[in-house]
């Protein structure tokens, strides 16, 4: 109990908890779940955008997109490493992803249908991710907080690139404008869902806030995202697909329509439009790559043995 009190006091004082420090088992488990979910999201998140690398409409866009997807892989890597400091192996985490035990962000179970979706993902999905992640730079677990600092720097870059794609489209032909508007129509609501269930239906929030694993509630973050994004849409003549959307002078925030939580929970249950494709692609890459990982391990062992012998 003394350990718990000391731990809670340190967290309350905004000190970082480090891997060698004592921590409550529930804290450790919550962190592993959250960090690995985040890592999985980065890795699965490579797929919808990866779908457009081979078809990017210019060499510059191709290079930028490739670099972006590569960054996501890098984020996945930082995050798996952060999770590993909590005593769990990367392979184990990945098995949980492939078995369906572990979750990843529902947003990646929607398909990328046109080039405009690449813009919409950068702008909205990375934008929402940043809202979620900025506070995590001050999360209580040191390795996680430090990973998030690197992640956030790159995400905001991605968000600008995505918005820039949308700007170029809205500056283009009628077909391009229609493509951009359609992408916003399809990605808007799923982006709002990225902040998770409403606060009154989010049982873990209080504990996570107290442990400073989370630092703001789902609804607070969602509101911030709407407030930031609506003016950006308006600035390039895009219409946010929500008839209830209106500036509320009194609250100093945008009011917005009801989210279809049925849809959200369906996708959580694995019923997203391309959930099967995502898992199939990840499992295939992992299974077909097994011999390469085995070879690298075997070679490393041989090399170490040779060094020993020498």
């Amino acid at each position: 109990a003394a350990l718990v009190d000391a731990f809670e006091a340190r967290v309350a004082a905004d000190e970082f908890i480090e891997p060698k420090d004592w921590m409550p088992e529930a804290y450790r488990k919550t962190l592993i779940r959250q960090i690995s979910q985040h890592a999985h999201s980065e890795i699965v998140g490579m797929l919808p955008e990866g779908n457009w690398i081979t078809r990017a409409p210019s060499l510059r866009r191709k290079a930028v997109l490739l670099a972006k997807v590569q960054d996501e892989g890098g984020h996945g890597l930082y995050l798996y490493c952060a999770a590993e400091t909590l005593g769990v192996g990367r392979d184990e985490l990945i098995e949980d992803l492939h078995s369906g035990k572990a979750k990843y962000s529902t947003i990646f179970n929607y398909p990328t249908l046109t080039w405009a979706d690449i813009g919409a993902i950068g702008w909205l999905v990375d934008g929402a991710a940043i809202m979620n992640q900025v506070p995590l730079q001050r999360t209580s677990y040191g390795p996680y907080a430090r990973a998030m600092i690197r992640v956030c720097k790159e995400e905001s870059f991605h968000q600008r690139q995505g918005y820039e794609i949308m700007m170029a489209l809205m500056d283009g032909t009628e077909a391009q404008k229609a493509m951009a508007q359609d992408a916003l129509n399809r990605w808007w609501w799923p982006s709002l869902m990225m902040f998770g269930p409403p606060d009154d239906n989010s049982p873990n929030t209080a504990q996570s806030m107290r442990w400073r694993i989370k630092r703001e509630t789902n609804d607070q973050l969602r509101q911030r995202f709407v407030d930031a994004t609506v003016p950006q849409a308006e600035a390039i003549d895009l219409r946010v697909p929500d008839d209830a959307l209106a500036w509320n002078e009194e609250r100093g925030h945008y009011d917005f329509g009801e989210i279809d939580w049925e849809e959200f929970y369906s996708v959580i249950r694995g019923e997203g439009p391309v959930a099967r494709e995502r898992m199939q692609a990840r499992r295939k890459a992992w299974d077909e790559g097994a011999w390469v990982r085995d070879a690298a391990n075997a070679y490393a062992a041989k090399a170490a043995a040779r060094k020993e012998a020498a």
Binding site: T54, P57, V69, A285, G289, W291
Partner: protein, 256 residues
């Protein structure tokens, strides 16, 4: 030394050869993105793809300038059909498994590294400058590929078999890279380019050294398949272009 006169068309064609090699291999490698055997390899392959696409952009822009008809790298990458592509056959080969991809990468980067090293001294300033930057990238590609050739060759029985099968797919395309023709003679005479045949011994020594480290034997090479430099490609390139060019061709004139 008297500088030989090189026609505009010859310079353009030579730059297309250089640029198309990088473009097509970059496109191929980018197919791996999100599907590699490990996250680390995903990042590495994307890195190589990125470098190659960057090189292609510079080289094709230079080709467009040489041509003088207002075409830039995008116009050349997305606006030519298969018979106008000048890449060698090796780079358009399908990825296959990781062993096949690494075999291709090792063979190509060995060639390209030797080539770019020479081209840093090109009398054409654009070529020299582009290659001065590119050669550093290529050195890294070659190192990465060499490391994996050794790792797979000296890893498990399966990895050795797969790597050998990967090389077996590609040996027939090695000869083409080192084949001289009228164009390469002309650019070499003008001190702009290099005779491919003169790069072969550097390639051979590297191949021997890396295969030695990997515990692999170099087989007798089969008959060379050629034609890429004149636009006579394998069946693979057309499919690659269909995907790569789809959006620009669907929306002609649009800016992205």
């Amino acid at each position: 030394m008297t500088e030989a006169v090189l026609s505009t068309d010859q310079l353009t064609q030579y730059l297309l050869r250089l640029g198309d090699d990088s473009l097509v291999l970059g496109q191929r490698l980018s197919e791996w993105c999100g599907h590699a055997p490990s996250i680390e390899l995903d990042l590495s392959l994307a890195n190589v793809a990125l470098d190659l696409i960057g090189q292609a952009t510079l080289l094709l822009n230079a080709a467009g300038e040489a041509e003088g008809q207002g075409r830039d790298a995008d116009a050349l990458a997305f606006g030519r059909d298969v018979m106008s592509f000048r890449n060698c056959l090796l780079v358009e080969q399908p990825n296959g498994d990781f062993g096949q991809t690494i075999a291709r990468q090792f063979l190509f980067s060995s060639y390209q590294f030797a080539l770019f090293r020479h081209l840093t001294a090109s009398s054409n300033t654009a070529v020299a400058e582009i290659c001065a930057k590119a050669v550093k990238e290529t050195e890294y590609h070659l190192q990465l590929a060499s490391d994996w050739v050794v790792r797979l060759g000296d890893g498990t029985d399966e990895s050795r078999e797969r790597l050998v099968a990967g090389f077996d797919w590609h040996w027939r395309f090695v000869g083409e890279m080192f084949e001289d023709d009228a164009l390469s003679e002309a650019v070499a005479a003008a001190d702009i380019g290099v005779l491919p045949s003169t790069l072969k011994s550097e390639f051979d020594s590297r191949l021997e050294a890396v295969f030695n480290d990997a515990g692999l034997e170099i087989p007798e090479l089969p008959r060379s398949i050629t034609g890429g430099r004149e636009g006579h490609h394998s069946e693979h390139l057309g499919h690659l272009l269909a995907v790569m060019q789809h959006i620009p061709r669907t929306y002609p004139g649009a800016v992205w």
